[in-house]
């Protein structure tokens, strides 16, 4: 299948991109790396009368060490993060997450901003960014705003972005060298989306302590606050995790409950040992 007829713009500033989006009146979509949007256009499950390709906007490809946080432009590719261009303030976590997304050919084009804005419930970045307490920067015709990633991710394929807004950057607070993290992804084939994903993060210096899971089965990233205290001090066994899964998500099939429980347990154990 091929994408249907559409208009195409490739502006070189955020301002110009915002102007085209505003004119599009809801039928214009931002194209980042296109590794989800283009196949969805080809398969006719996503629609756009106008594509606004942000790939020529240089500032969106910048990686900036901004003191207490690292600021990644929205169109920084997974491959650049995998290759360590972000600097390592997260004990190798960013490179690990990036390097296990799809295949290298996809990682060369796909972007962290695109992944967050697309909001596939099985995507890795939403889980990892919520775990690290990251924020997104959003530009709109009425100015810019900042949101924590857990507020940005609203639902399956749904974010807090308005039709005339663009996600411009992701700011990740630097962790201390004491950061311990684990990122677990259950899948049957290398390169596939995770059937269950879990991240656990504990930084005793900054106090950051988060347990997050994500998948299509649970409808996208979810924080497991019930397990966050256990991560810091308590004992936690499979029954407690299974109970937390049921209380956080509601009832799932036995298989789904089991794989999410196992992913969460592995993540928590790895951080605690």
């Amino acid at each position: 299948m091929k994408a249907p007829a559409l208009e195409f713009h490739r502006p070189d500033t955020v301002q110009a991109a915002l102007a085209i989006l505003a004119e599009g009146d809801g039928a214009a979509r931002v194209l980042a790396g296109g590794q989800s949007l283009v196949p969805m256009l080809n398969l006719r499950v996503a629609f756009a009368e106008t594509l606004v390709d942000i790939g020529a906007i240089q500032e969106l490809a910048a990686i900036e060490d901004a003191g207490n946080h690292v600021r990644l432009g929205a169109s920084v590719s997974h491959a650049r993060i995998e290759d360590g261009q972000t600097g390592d303030y997260f004990g190798g976590m960013l490179g690990h997450v990036a390097g296990n997304i799809a295949y290298r050919a996809i990682r060369n084009r796909g972007t962290i901003g695109g992944s967050l804005a697309h909001a596939d419930p099985a995507a890795d970045w939403p889980v990892a960014m919520i775990a690290l307490g990251a924020n997104v920067e959003i530009a709109g015709s009425n100015g810019s705003r900042k949101l924590p990633v857990d507020e940005f991710m609203v639902d399956v394929f749904t974010t807090a972005l308005q039709e005339d807004e663009i996600l411009t950057a992701i700011c990740i607070p630097k962790a201390s060298p004491k950061l311990r993290w684990s990122f677990q992804k259950m899948r049957k084939k290398a390169g596939a989306f995770g059937e269950a994903i879990a991240a656990a993060v504990h930084d005793p210096e900054s106090g950051l302590c988060r347990v997050v899971a994500g998948s299509s089965a649970i409808g996208g990233p979810q924080r497991f606050t019930l397990l966050e205290t256990a991560l810091q001090d308590g004992d936690v066994d499979d029954d407690a995790i299974r109970d937390a899964v049921t209380r956080t998500i509601g009832s799932l099939g036995r298989y789904e409950t089991q794989i999410h429980t196992v992913c969460l347990r592995r993540a928590i154990e790895e951080v605690r040992t």
């Binding site: 007829a5 195409f8 296109g34 590794q35 283009v38 080809n42 390709d53 050919a105 060369n108 084009r109």
Partner: protein, 155 residues
Amino acid sequence: MTTLSLTVNGRQVSTEIDPRLNLADFLRERLSLKGTHLGCEHGACGACTVLMDGMPIRSCITMAASCDGVEITTVEGYDDNKLMSRLRRAFREEHALQCGYCTPGMLATAYDIVSRLDRADENEIRAALAGCVCRCTGYRGIVRAIERCIAEKNA
């Protein structure tokens, strides 16, 4: 229509294109470079993999209009590139192809694996190849060809 200027296999191309065109169709239909093969057309099979600025990408899920200013290398354009010559020889000698449909994508992917990795065991090579589907060889020959080129690189 939208304007596109890029370099393909060392040749400068400037033309008007239908904005919905993907890079694979642009290469095949507009430039008659039929060595880039289309399998699934949604980024899952890897047959259409080409090099963009030296890095492998899927040409079926890359809009041609997004390629302004880039340099594309297809299977027709490797010429006497040293690593690609070694890979072609290794593919031939290790029986790494049968029908040849996946081979352009396999070569682009293999080129990237051998360039980036100084060492890789069979499992790592298989994981790095997971985005390329071959329905003939069972991958053994492809993995051997890549192992051999990594070993030659370190010799």
